[in-house]
Amino acid sequence: MEAQTLTYIFVGLSFALYIGIAIASRAKSTNDFYVAGKGVNPVANGMATAADWMSAASFLSMAGLIAFLGRDGSVYLMGWTGGYVLLALLLAPYLRKYGKYTVPDFIGERYYSNVARVVAVICLIFISFTYIAGQMRGVGIVFSRFLEVEIEMGVIIGMGIVFIYAVLGGMKGITYTQVAQYCVMIFAYLVPAIFLSIMLTGNPIPQLGFGDKLLNSDIYLIDKLDKTIIDLGFSPYTEYSKSLIDIFCITAALMFGTAGLPHVIVRFFTVPNMQAARRSAGYALVFIAILYTTAPAVASFARLNFIDSVQNTSYEDAPDWFKNWENIGLISWMDKNQDGKMQYSSGSPFVENRPVFSDERGSLGERLLENEANTSSSNEVYLDRDIIVLANPEIANLPIWVIALVAAGGLAAALSTAAGLLLVISSSISHDLMKQTFMPQITEKKELLYARLAAGITILLAGLLGIFPPAFVAQVVAFAFGLAASTLFPVLFMGIFSKKTTKEAAIGGMLTGLVFTFSYIVFFKFISPGLNNSDYWFLGISPEGIGVVGMILNFLVMLLVTKFSKSPPESVINLVETIRRP
């Protein structure tokens, strides 16, 4: 059977499964719709959280990113897992004990102010929308590469599927579909990784193979990789190339941001009690760690494998996968020294960022480029780092069903994250804005209807962003973390650990964090990208890491304003005491 047909079957079966689960577990009340009736088993919730958390970017791009960043890629590994410690220790159990439906709900009641609630909703919508647009795009890309439909068509199909199970099932529906999606995703990620690990080191566990000796040799894989890429003019794989302060701040921004992301926090509202919330965060991290500890191993295997099979190989002998991806346009070769062999080294092969193909083929069958050669580097090969995970099964010569599996896994990753985001956006609109602020008299039935309507409209908007992606989407996804770290995290933390923090302090703190972080990012990314280097950064901190500074400012403003404002009412102090009690 052809790879194409198999992919259709795998993807079709997985979709049928998701929809079946959604119909079986559809929501009957707002309690079901917002928090799955608060009856989800902690292990199941951990799995759903992991699927919610690991997006198209985690599944498709992270290993590729690490393969090319080397040690600098550690910021993502530590940053996107360390936040769960903060969640489990500092936020999740207390927010669960509080026991309402959304993150702005807590902020509104703890800070006895609808203004604080609305500011929190604004932060939440901004964070979640930048994130969801990336997911819909991811769905489109997987569809177009593996099923050969247009990206637009792919986005529409993806929207349709998410619409059915998120609008029908609400939180209850997406929780159990996410459990299924996690299983599909992790299986699809591990199979090629295990094969690659055996192929290179003989060790079937990628996490161990990563630190093992190469097959039939006395050299450690990691030493070989370091030596190979240094010889080619790259900086060493095992050393940081960014400054330590920047590495420190980016990691911290990602950690605190993770702990402040509303679509992650809200998952812990679905379990029965605060003990379950803590344990559930632990299970979530176990399930996430299975992928996150495999990713750096896959990254090193792929980098080494790629160099081994390409460096100084004549184009005629290039492996099939090289030519397949060249045909799609994500790999290119420009024979600068006219020797018919591919030379790979540091530096860009051409002056432009991306290859521009002419319609002609060279004498060896390679696709000719219209780019201007970059004479300062001898590198002839262009490789899009997003293809590492997708190309792995082919690089390792795995059977075609593995390729089909990886396609289904990528879709599961994108759909599960999109559905989770969709739900926090729609519930903050129907619950926080309508029921709690502007239309307090509506009945539960009406509220449920509005929640479904809001989910439907959000899907449409997200789909439009996927079809017509604004140029800035890719650049701002990482900043969602900076914003979450500098706005929501400090306010949630102080809301639990300080009885004295006042509403003026919370509103002032959130706005300070938001304005500072947002303007720093916008200034360096959009207004003066020419100045975006360490000479101009504040203390040498890049826009990716500035959320930490925003967070510190937020805390300072809160402490200061609390001193000068009227202390919170008795009822709020009682509320804080209640949520601290076991």
């Binding site: 040690r71 897992t81 093992d212 894989l221 344990r279 760690a289």
Partner: protein
């Protein structure tokens, strides 16, 4: 000591390890410990790409276990 004070001490203790294994071993003192090796990994590199994640998991389950014991005592 009240339950909440004990809880805060436990939290500070565990967060110290959280900081030490990620920001400490993985980033700030990575260079000073890289003479030690685990298999083919230099210790600092291992902490930043594998080890810190394992430590995070252990920390969450340790906290969960210890604080549940505190909570049971408190309820009695």
């Amino acid at each position: 000591m009240t339950f909440w004070q004990k809880n805060l001490i436990l939290l500070s203790f565990l967060l110290f390890f959280w900081f030490l294994c990620s920001f400490g071993f993985g980033i700030l003192f990575s260079e000073y410990i890289s003479f030690m090796k685990i298999g083919g990994f230099e210790l600092g590199f291992w902490f930043s790409q594998q080890g810190s994640i394992y430590v995070f998991i252990i920390l969450i389950f340790t906290y969960s276990y210890l604080v549940e014991r505190l909570e049971k005592k408190e309820k009695k």
